[in-house]
């Protein structure tokens, strides 16, 4: 197993913790390392305690580790909070222009003095920490310079202050590590960036959302891309407007997605049900945070699974997928958009704070996205809801000559005219559900369940928790991981195949009741009684999970 190193950067909100974390991540990415950044912040604008954990390794890395090699403390509180996370050999870098700490391994950087000497704006203060860090990691200054030129607009000034810090540390200390370039950089993305990119590369034309953590960064990212992509991004007055706008968009022929978190999706449910009845395809991204209600806005949870499988009144088929890694987020987002258009059903992509806002460097390949063609009208008499054996009626859009497209939230006949005729009502419900069999067949050829490793013990998990599981089992033997990706339709056959002969199955998920475990039982009759559940709003850490797993496998 390759070594895993971690740098923890902490400070108050407003001190630039996030930016510094990203700079460090980019530096390691440029060196060719596998990088994962956890971004932990409370729900406030200034003050509090923010931290970024940047873990890196020569091997693929799926989650940040707590055990820290270098702690960068922008305030005193950071040292108090994280000193127990430090490895035996470590350094603490802190801002000695603000406070002093009495630790043997602590290196005080007079950042204010550097600002004055370099004569650069105050906001560049944190580049001095990047300079000191680079030295302690054993990275040449030339390489830091190169990275700055890749990531900063005002690179000269940032380089100037970083150099002062780099040389300051060099005079008194030996590097802690000897990090050399081992490969080529990849793209450092959050789960939300990956979702946005995946949707666009899957054919997205319109994205509509009302801000809600932790989904907002999809909105921010795509809003910044409207000039690069053929894409419209809209922020309406509320989530109800969002979903209704989206259904209207789909009706008029544009591929559309919406994004929100649990509370926002609550408001969208009637519109989600409308999408199902009117058979206008939409993708909803729901990035979970702990509930009920407002809950814990900037932290993580996997407690909306049951809800999303049943959201919206009435009965209707839906496609629900929950990626667990940034790569999966990209491919599954694009795939889902294609599937909902092929089958004219609503789809949900489930994320969570931990996946949505953690960074990982990845290689994303547009051609790897699964594409499917919608069934389009090709002449004759047009009936929007024509009975077809696969339940999928050909699509036409307003603006098509000699065609009248009538879409309805009421139960309707083939033309889309309201009906209360029991025979037609039953047939329409059968038509919508006829699609399910075909969706299931298509999903058989797609990755609906992913397994990692081999062993007699099985860990079954979903969503972002797969990252911590993958890291935890690096130190354990005889374990197979089964990650469920699709939840609706539920991939029964594959789950049975992976779990049926197993003696020791352990469920790992971030909720109170063990929703995945119950769902597996409900769908397959296979009981998952050993459960490692976490519902304190924080993601699993690899070490925590390792200790828990060791008890049961």
């Amino acid at each position: 197993m390759a070594l895993i190193h971690t740098i923890t950067v902490g400070g108050k909100a407003g001190q630039g913790v996030k930016t510094l974390g990203k700079v460090v991540g980019e530096l390691l990415n440029e060196l060719g390392y596998n990088v994962f950044i956890l971004d932990d912040y409370p729900s406030l604008i200034t003050g509090g305690h923010n931290f970024n954990r940047i873990s890196f390794s020569e091997e693929e890395i799926y989650c940040a580790h707590t055990e820290t090699d270098i702690l960068v403390a922008l305030d005193r509180n950071t040292v108090e909070r994280h000193k127990n996370d430090l490895k035996e050999h470590h350094f603490i870098i802190y801002d000695s222009s603000e406070f002093n700490i009495d630790e043997k391994t602590a290196i005080g950087l007079p950042s204010k003095e550097f600002i004055e000497r370099a004569n650069v704006p105050e906001k560049m203060r944190n580049s001095s920490f990047a300079g000191a860090l680079a030295y302690l990691l054993g990275i040449s200054f030339e390489f830091l310079e190169h990275t700055f030129s890749v990531i900063f607009k005002e690179k000269e000034e940032n380089i100037k202050i970083a150099k002062l810090a780099y040389n300051f540390v060099k005079e008194n200390y030996q590097p802690l590590l000897n990090i050399k370039k081992i490969g080529e950089p990849r793209k450092l993305v959050t789960g939300n960036i990956a979702i946005g990119e995946g949707l666009v590369k899957g054919g997205l034309e319109v994205y509509i959302a009302y801000p809600m953590t932790p989904s907002s960064s999809i909105l921010h990212y795509l809003a910044g891309k409207v000039k690069d992509y053929k894409l419209s991004v809209v922020q309406p007055e509320n989530e109800i407007a969002v979903i209704n706008m989206a259904v209207g968009c789909a009706y008029a022929g544009k591929k559309v997605a919406v994004g929100t978190s649990g509370g926002g999706f609550d408001l969208m449910q009637e519109g989600f049900s409308l999408a199902a009845m009117s058979e206008n395809p939409i993708v909803a991204v729901e990035s979970q945070r702990p509930g009920p209600s407002t809950g814990v806005p900037t932290y993580t949870s996997q407690s909306d699974l049951n809800y999303l499988l049943n959201a919206g009144h009435g009965e209707f088929p839906r496609i629900v997928v929950a990626p667990g890694t940034q790569e999966q987020a990209f491919y599954k987002a694009g795939e889902l958009l294609n599937l909902v258009w092929k089958y004219q059903v609503p789809g949900i992509l489930i994320s969570d704070k931990h996946l949505s806002e953690s960074w990982k460097n990845v290689s994303l390949n547009e051609t790897g996205i699964y594409k499917a063609e919608p069934k389009l009208f090709d002449g004759g008499e047009y009936k929007r809801y024509k009975f077809e054996s696969d339940g999928v009626s050909p699509l036409a859009f307003p603006g098509t000559e000699n065609v009248v497209v009538k879409s309805s939230s009421y139960e309707h006949d083939e033309y889309g005219i309201t009906t209360e005729n029991p025979e037609i009502i039953a047939r329409m419900q059968e038509k919508r559900f006829a699609k399910l069999k075909y969706i299931e067949e298509e999903l058989e050829n797609l990755e609906t369940v992913k397994t990692y490793g081999n062993g007699e013990n099985v860990v079954v998990t979903w969503g972002s928790s797969v990252g911590a599981v993958l890291e935890a089992v690096k130190k354990l033997d005889n374990i197979k991981i089964v990650q469920i990706l699709y939840f609706s339709p539920f991939p029964k056959k594959k789950v049975v195949k992976e779990l049926s002969m197993c003696e020791n199955i352990v469920g790992v998920e971030a909720n109170f009741t063990g929703q995945l475990c119950d769902l597996i039982f409900a769908n397959t009759g296979i009981a998952v009684d050993k459960r490692i559940l976490k519902y304190d709003s924080r993601e699993f850490s690899p070490q925590y999970l390792y200790l828990k797993l060791k008890e049961v496998v």
Partner: protein, 252 residues
């Protein structure tokens, strides 16, 4: 003329018939004048008014209660060439979904809304709405509605609507002209249509007495429009306000 096979289920004498006739005439004339039939999209909320989408043979989107404006905005975002006409009742537009009306006016989306304002929830068999007068006795207010009504046109003028008009369901020819003008208007247009409900709020007699058509009214003056929509002794119908300003969809 633009008929479907759907059976019309409104009560005989319902004000909705006047609105249906005016809309069908307006669309037919616009098609004769060169608009393409396939570019019309009508949309409705939920309530008696909403059945209108089943009765006109053009593209339609039968949506949710209160949510017609965002659905129409989505349709326009997808295809700017479409001519979209939304229908909503007073409960639908001014209670359930008033935020959408306000924000559509604010962003000046190029959509139009015809509000079937009968001052009552009719399809749910008679409860008060935001435009029911104080003292209105309905099923949920057997001893009289305790709330003052709102003046929706004042709200819409204040929100930035670029075309604000009032029509009367019994003046079909006048209403048809208003609808044609609203379709031609680039920007957010709203026509509040006074619509008697013969079952729960029969206002024919009083409206026939009070309604008069605006003549030579300066439609560029917001202040005057604000005053005019407040008139109660006699009720003016016509266009109160119409200005050109930038349209939301043109930014996309």
């Amino acid at each position: 003329m633009l008929e479907t096979y759907a059976e019309i289920t409104w009560c005989p004498g319902c004000g909705n018939f006047g609105i249906l006739n005016a809309v069908k005439r307006a669309i037919s004339e616009l098609i004769e004048e060169g608009e393409k039939k396939e570019n019309f999209v009508i949309a409705s909320g939920i309530g008696c008014h909403a059945k209108i989408v089943d009765y006109i043979d053009v593209n339609s989107f039968y949506g949710l209660h209160g949510r017609v404006p965002p659905a129409l905005t989505g349709i326009k975002l997808a295809n700017k060439n479409l001519k979209v006409i939304g229908f909503a009742g007073d409960g639908d537009a001014y209670a359930e979904g008033i935020e959408h009306l306000i924000h559509s006016a604010k962003r000046n989306t190029d959509i139009m809304m015809i509000i079937h304002n009968n001052g009552v929830f009719a399809l749910t068999t008679g409860q008060f709405t935001p435009t029911s007068p104080k003292g209105f006795k309905g099923k949920s207010t057997p001893f009289g509605n305790v709330e003052e009504p709102i003046n929706p046109l004042k709200v819409l003028l204040a929100s930035g609507a670029s075309f604000v008009a009032r029509g009367y369901a019994a003046r079909v020819e006048h209403l048809k002209k208003l609808i044609k003008a609203a379709v031609k208007h680039k920007g957010f247009a709203v026509i509040d249509v006074l619509q008697p409900c013969i079952a729960f709020n029969n206002t024919y007699q009083i409206l026939n007495q009070k309604v008069y058509e605006l003549e030579k009214f300066d439609t560029k003056n917001l202040e005057e429009a604000m005053k005019k929509v407040e008139e109660k002794e006699r009720i003016p119908i016509g266009i109160f306000y119409q200005v050109e300003r930038e349209v939301f969809e043109d930014y996309f």
